[in-house]
Symmetry: D2
Subunit: 291 residues, 4 copies
């Protein structure tokens, strides 16, 4: 990113009422802010208002911190329930990837990061199996192996090690890139809003294990993948992105697995990029995605 | 259809073994049969073999009935579990549509029938409400109103009337074109293999009532529709066709309902056409669709 | 539409500069305007800014005319090149459909209008052939037959009659719903911004006659349709919407024609609805579509 | 591939006539051949017949060579124009990739090859620039740099070197994976049926240079990619596969380039896999793809 592309990205959610857009846009205009992108959503169902605004950093004469402290006043005026953040795209984000044995999502994200497609650095890859170490290190990314005992009752220490390792990188996103372990509730809570999973089905169909086998058994004509935020309820977190691909009677489970990989990669890559670009706003069990 | 387009369509399913294709194709070749379309599927999971062959009627010198009686010998040779049918496309099929108050699927199918897109005659439309009578009669199709009592326990006589009315047309397909009544098990059984439903979700997600409301509540990013054969288990019959359309946070339930109609129409029209062209072979809970 | 759903829809395009959003949103907020939908686009390529804002009519105490006259002052402040319009959704729009012999788009739009999907009245259907009269009148819509001579050099009077007939309805949209005549430049100019065509290919591929035949000859794996504004250059006007459907080697031209109809219907219906809801802003050869 | 998955794949094209299927299937049945997959296409337009049959190698007691010499007799019986091939999936194919500076297709194919998704070995990567050497060698694949002079008139020796290098690997597929050089006619001829290109547009739209810029200028609502066999006419060879992705007014050229990469990767990977599995039969300017 050249410095001329640097942006301050404001995201905000609050109970809807008249005048919020005027208040925010006047604030930005008074600073000379040139708005590169702006999106709004008034949700009739929840009564909430959401916005995302990207301002050319070069157009305002103040720092991100100064902007934050000035906007704090506006946010308070708008109301006490207001949730907001201001991100400086010049401060690159950090991502930690959790993997198991399946390489495709890892390989795909490493390629995108190398090609400049993800506005973030992949800080580390952590596997509960050692198989993907070479894939990570070939891209110059550090790999950690945290073995998980077979007995679920004995996995506590492994999760503790995982938590400390991940937290040591202070990541903006913890991506379960076909990590085959269910996170314990305390880790879901600890990484709330930052832990992103790719599930290999079109949720809410085929929750849990072996979704392609479930899809095959049911005889569906499309298979899909879902990128969602992780919550303590399995495969039930707010959905960021989904997509599907057509299958037919000639596709065995192995064909579904192969074709499904392409959808998993695409859906995870899109969802992660939107998260890193502050395009995903969560409200209750749902997301607003300003893609 | 011009007489030169008339076809004999053979469909067959049986336990797979070597030599079936050779046996069938030799039989057809010996009659001089010119094969216009041929499709095969050997299902590794169930161990069954399926085929559909369309022969130009003008290329064989025998009648459909004669062809059936000769093929009976071949089928017996292939094995006792063999299931087969031979349809003469010169004998047009009959369809009865069951509707409620929603017009879009009815309007769509009537337009397709008028345009020659469906290889069948729509014999009658039966509604549990009178609202769609004008839509049917404007296309010259007879409409019957069979009122259903509010209390499910009192609907027995209405279902009996429905059964007799439908059966009086000897239909090849009984289409639940957004018919909002759940058929009793004995009707599912009675019309097995002929009753086709359009469900307004991407099954197995959102079974039952108000699937768009369910989809909205879950925050999915795609909504879909499913055309399936009716069985006594609600929304669980063999799937013929499915498709989806993208939605986002800005779509309220009413928007989903509106956009979903287009997918319902497409999916039902495709599924029904395939059924009428003998492209759908059912095996257990699944279909083979030679589209 | 219930009166509580009535909206004032403002669309605006102008050279981009700082403060436009603030100016407009402050104007609306000062009137107490509750913004139901808002969309913005700053086009880096052309340097233009575009917006569409839908305000709940019940939230502002002035009439549409009063709102227009007050906004005129704001628009002048924003700059002399500003193009804007304010539409009152309580004033229903009028559509005239031009057809030939193909029924599918006509049938589809009549069904949508009857179902309340189009925010407009279909005022009349005009055909250069008489075949579709019954389709129109079955929906209670007036049909006019304007015969066109075979010799293109002699079509002048027919186009004059067409122009006068169309203009007698003062339509907001003149839809070429598979009308197989190329409009003369003066009619393109006369109906500029209101004449909408559906072309049965994925433009710019397969301009002109028989696009499905062209697609078949080239062996493409997807066929499409394009809804665009009519300009004097054939099939080259600003594109509103496009979509495609998969075909393969087994599809003859007739199969493409049949499958293509579904895409034509969908693409035209979407494009027309967006036009009628003031979601389509034209700039040069391109559109901004706030769908 | 386990030995039990080894297949003999027969592909055949010939003028259509009665009895071909019977002749081939009887031949295979007489050898005890268990048919795992079979596909047929009778092309009404060209009057040709095409088939692909995959036989479990373990079910026939003869070698691939013996099978070929026996089938030669059948092919001669069928007719002098018959074109056929029999491939033993136990003899892995070889692929050479030609690249320039864009890494995404290379990275994607290397990942698929490593994951066992491509039934082939990537023998070498050849670049007209040195940038992608590390990407290739990180996957253990040999990289050759063949520099091309700026002046097209002076590229003859480079093409000669390229030809010799490629031919030294006797590849079954020469893939132009975003190779930005137009092959001279003699190389197109030399590698006819084996050279596969990915073009970053939905052909026949936007032939030649900078298709995303062309797409942006035209304002299309979908962008696409096309995998095709290379012929001496630029971007006009038989199409194997195409796909598209939705864009809108907010997408600048750079956004199209980024989103387009995903479609390029998918379309090339599918097309190449089908080619390597002998699923692509070419006839004139078109393909039959038994996918």
């Amino acid at each position: 990113m050249s410095s001329s592309d640097r942006r301050f990205v404001l995201t905000l959610g609050c109970p809807d009422r008249t005048g919020i857009v005027a208040r925010i846009s006047t604030f930005l205009a008074d600073l000379g802010g040139s708005i590169v992108e702006a999106a709004y959503h008034a949700d009739a169902d929840s009564g909430w208002f959401f916005t995302r605004q990207a301002v050319a950093a070069s157009s305002v004469s103040v720092s991100a911190d100064e902007l934050r402290s000035r906007f704090e006043v506006v946010a308070r005026e708008i109301g006490p329930e207001t949730e907001w953040a201001l991100h400086d795209s010049g401060e690159p984000k950090r991502v930690v990837l959790l993997v198991s044995k399946e390489a495709h999502c890892l390989h795909d994200l490493l390629g995108r990061a190398a090609g400049g497609e993800l506005p973030a650095t992949i800080s580390a890859v952590i596997g509960n199996h050692p198989e993907l170490e070479a894939t990570a290190t070939a891209h110059g990314v550090r790999f950690h192996h945290v073995p998980f005992p077979k007995d679920p009752a004995e996995r506590g220490p492994a999760f503790t090690e995982l938590k400390e390792l991940v937290d040591s990188y202070s990541p903006d996103a913890v991506v379960l890139a076909r990590f085959m372990q269910v996170l314990p509730p305390e880790l879901c809570e600890h990484w709330a809003g930052r832990a992103i999973n790719i599930h290999h089905s079109f949720l809410p169909s085929f929750v849990g294990a072996k979704p392609y086998h479930q899809a095959f058994a049911r005889g569906v004509k499309l298979i899909g993948a879902t990128c969602h935020l992780v919550t303590s309820e399995l495969d039930a977190g707010p959905i960021i992105e989904q997509d599907v691909i057509r299958v037919d009677h000639s596709d065995a489970v192995a064909d579904m697995v192969r074709q499904g990989r392409d959808i998993e990669k695409l859906v995870l890559a899109r969802g992660l990029r939107w998260h890193l670009e502050d395009r995903v706003l969560v409200h209750g069990r749902k997301t607003v995605v300003f893609s």
